[in-house]
């Protein structure tokens, strides 16, 4: 019976993330979209844990839920607009979008099952040590460039929102 815990958890997380993702797109109010987006991030982090990638799951929650969601909430707070209920109802592009997205989605989802599990699965030791040795070993240069990127983004964001009269 305990073999069914993993598929059951996967089913719950799948339903959670897809429903929340659909909620982000379809919700009328932006604040609901933002909270549902945070919920999607949490579900995807749960899936990372299910895959055995605990470090990446912790980073996902730390960065996405802890920082990016707060940033987006700031964006929602500081750009208040008059609420337009049922804006999606009058959106004329939604049929083209559905036509483009739904067939490709179904096709990709069905062919995804053609990926076979490897014959020998890696041991469930977690991904901390391989991840650390890879990042600081093979990809040390990319790591440094990423820190420069963050610095540039920080400076750029501050410069962009400075008011001109100062």
């Amino acid at each position: 019976m305990f073999d069914l815990i993993e598929p059951a958890l996967f089913a719950i997380l799948t339903i959670g993330s897809i429903a929340a993702g659909a909620g982000v797109v379809l919700a009328n109010r932006i604040t609901t979209s933002a909270l549902l987006m945070a919920f999607t991030f949490l579900n995807v982090a749960g899936m990372f844990v299910l895959l055995g990638a605990e470090t990446v799951a912790m980073f996902q929650v730390l960065i996405y839920v802890g920082a990016i969601t707060v940033l987006i909430l700031y964006g929602v707070m500081f750009t208040p607009q008059s609420p337009r209920p049922y804006g999606l109802f009058f959106q004329t592009q939604k049929y083209w979008a559905a036509l483009f997205v739904v067939p490709i989605a179904i096709f990709v989802a069905l062919t995804a099952f053609s990926f076979a599990d490897p014959a020998v699965m890696g041991e469930k030791g977690g991904d901390l040590v391989p991840l650390a040795t890879s990042i600081f070993g093979d990809f040390a240069f990319a790591f440094e460039v990423a820190s420069v990127l963050l610095l540039a983004a920080m400076v750029g964001a501050i410069v962009l929102v400075k008011r001109d009269e100062e």
Partner: protein, 375 residues
């Protein structure tokens, strides 16, 4: 799957164990909060030369129960809110990560919820989720002061996460594992990490004070500032949940300090009776809780710009320098920890002694400015 005591069937024992663990954690959190509220009032009173709660029960011990009953009975005032669901959800978003933190704390050898290989990362992750709850609380209250208080608090929390994590990295460099149980086990007897890495302890403690919105960093929630900041519109039991979350977070920060720098459960006779480790752990953790309260009763509050400049201009360069020096020394002398200890104590002495010097210089500058302004 583990077989339960008295040979209980694993299918029953596993969920039963989960239920018992959840009840234990909730009991720990609530009773700890009850004890801490009483301790706080008594300790503040003693330091301020007063007596504190005296009449409800012997030595005022039942004061907290009286407070809790009063809070439960308060009217649930609901102003016209920006967003009702955000307002209702915010206390839970602040409270849940704190409760979830108790899973990885090692109370005694063998008594730990889950020995996560990334336990320390898990604790910092949960610490960063409380920011979301506070931003939501400040914004959903439809109140200018709450919004400003919430944004200030979020800025403070996000800023002080950086020195917090950087201090933790120093300990991980020395120990070599992120697992809390591993860190606790690497300090047998009197070889506590505080003798090797005192600067990281001090910076983590300061950052922990700021992370829990505690004096001297409690600008966002103090009663005399901004009409209690983001907590303004919360009354009765909802405020109590924020309050409980704060006291629980103080306990978690104290527990982390105990585990990382003071040898979590190690003490006399703990090899003979493993369960005695719980007693030593609790004593050490509550000592730091008392230090939190002592600081609250003693130090004045920092302004928001002083707070931010302390973080970005003092703590972050200090912790970064600490990591740099520690890693260089660890690579240069891989067998011994003595150079690391010496360097850290020198840095700590420099930090403590340099502050009065810079303060005196700043005071002289300000006096000069005042003199030229009024002349």
């Amino acid at each position: 799957m583990p077989v339960g005591p008295f040979g209980l069937d694993p299918a029953i024992w596993a969920p039963l164990r989960l239920v018992i663990a959840v009840l234990l954690v909730i009991g720990l959190v609530f009773n700890g909060a009850l004890a801490q509220i009483y301790l706080e009032r008594k300790i503040q009173a003693i330091i301020q030369d007063r007596v504190g709660p005296l009449h409800t029960g012997p030595w005022g011990l039942l004061q907290t129960f009286a407070d809790a009953i009063k809070l439960l009975g308060k009217e649930d005032i609901r102003a016209r809110l920006t967003d009702k669901w955000f307002f209702l959800a915010a206390p839970s978003i602040v409270f849940s990560p704190m409760v979830a933190s108790y899973v990885v704390i090692p109370f005694a050898p063998g008594i730990v919820g889950v020995d996560l290989s990334v336990g320390l990362l898990y604790l910092t992750t949960l610490g960063s989720m409380t920011v979301l709850g506070i931003v939501i609380a400040g914004w959903a209250s439809n109140n200018k002061y709450s919004l400003i208080g919430g944004l200030r608090s979020a800025g403070q929390l996000i800023s002080y996460e950086v020195p917090q994590i950087l201090s933790l990295i120093t300990v991980v460099l020395v120990v070599g594992t992120l697992s809390m149980v591993g860190i606790a086990e690497s300090q047998p007897g009197w070889q506590m990490h505080v003798f090797v890495l005192p600067l990281a302890f001090v910076t983590y403690f300061i950052a922990g004070l700021a992370e829990t919105n505690r004096n001297p960093f409690d600008l966002p929630e103090a009663e005399s500032e901004l009409v209690a900041g983001f907590l303004t519109e919360y009354s009765g039991m909802r405020w109590a949940i924020f309050f409980l979350a704060e006291y629980g977070e103080i306990t978690v920060v104290s527990a982390i300090v105990t585990t990382l720098w003071f040898g979590a459960w190690h003490g006399p006779f703990v090899e003979v009776f493993p369960l005695l480790g719980v007693l030593w752990f609790t004593l050490k953790a509550y000592f730091f809780v008392l230090v939190f309260m002592w600081i609250r009763a003693t130090l004045p509050r920092l302004r928001i710009d002083q707070l931010m400049s302390l973080c970005w201009k003092v703590l972050i360069p200090l912790t970064l320098a600490n990591i740099l020096i520690t890693s260089i020394l660890l690579l240069a002398f891989p067998t011994t920890l003595v150079p690391v200890a010496i360097a850290n104590w020198i840095l700590l002495a420099g930090f403590v002694l340099a502050l009065p010097y810079f303060q005196r210089r700043r005071l002289a500058t300000l006096r000069e400015r005042l003199r030229t302004a009024t002349a």
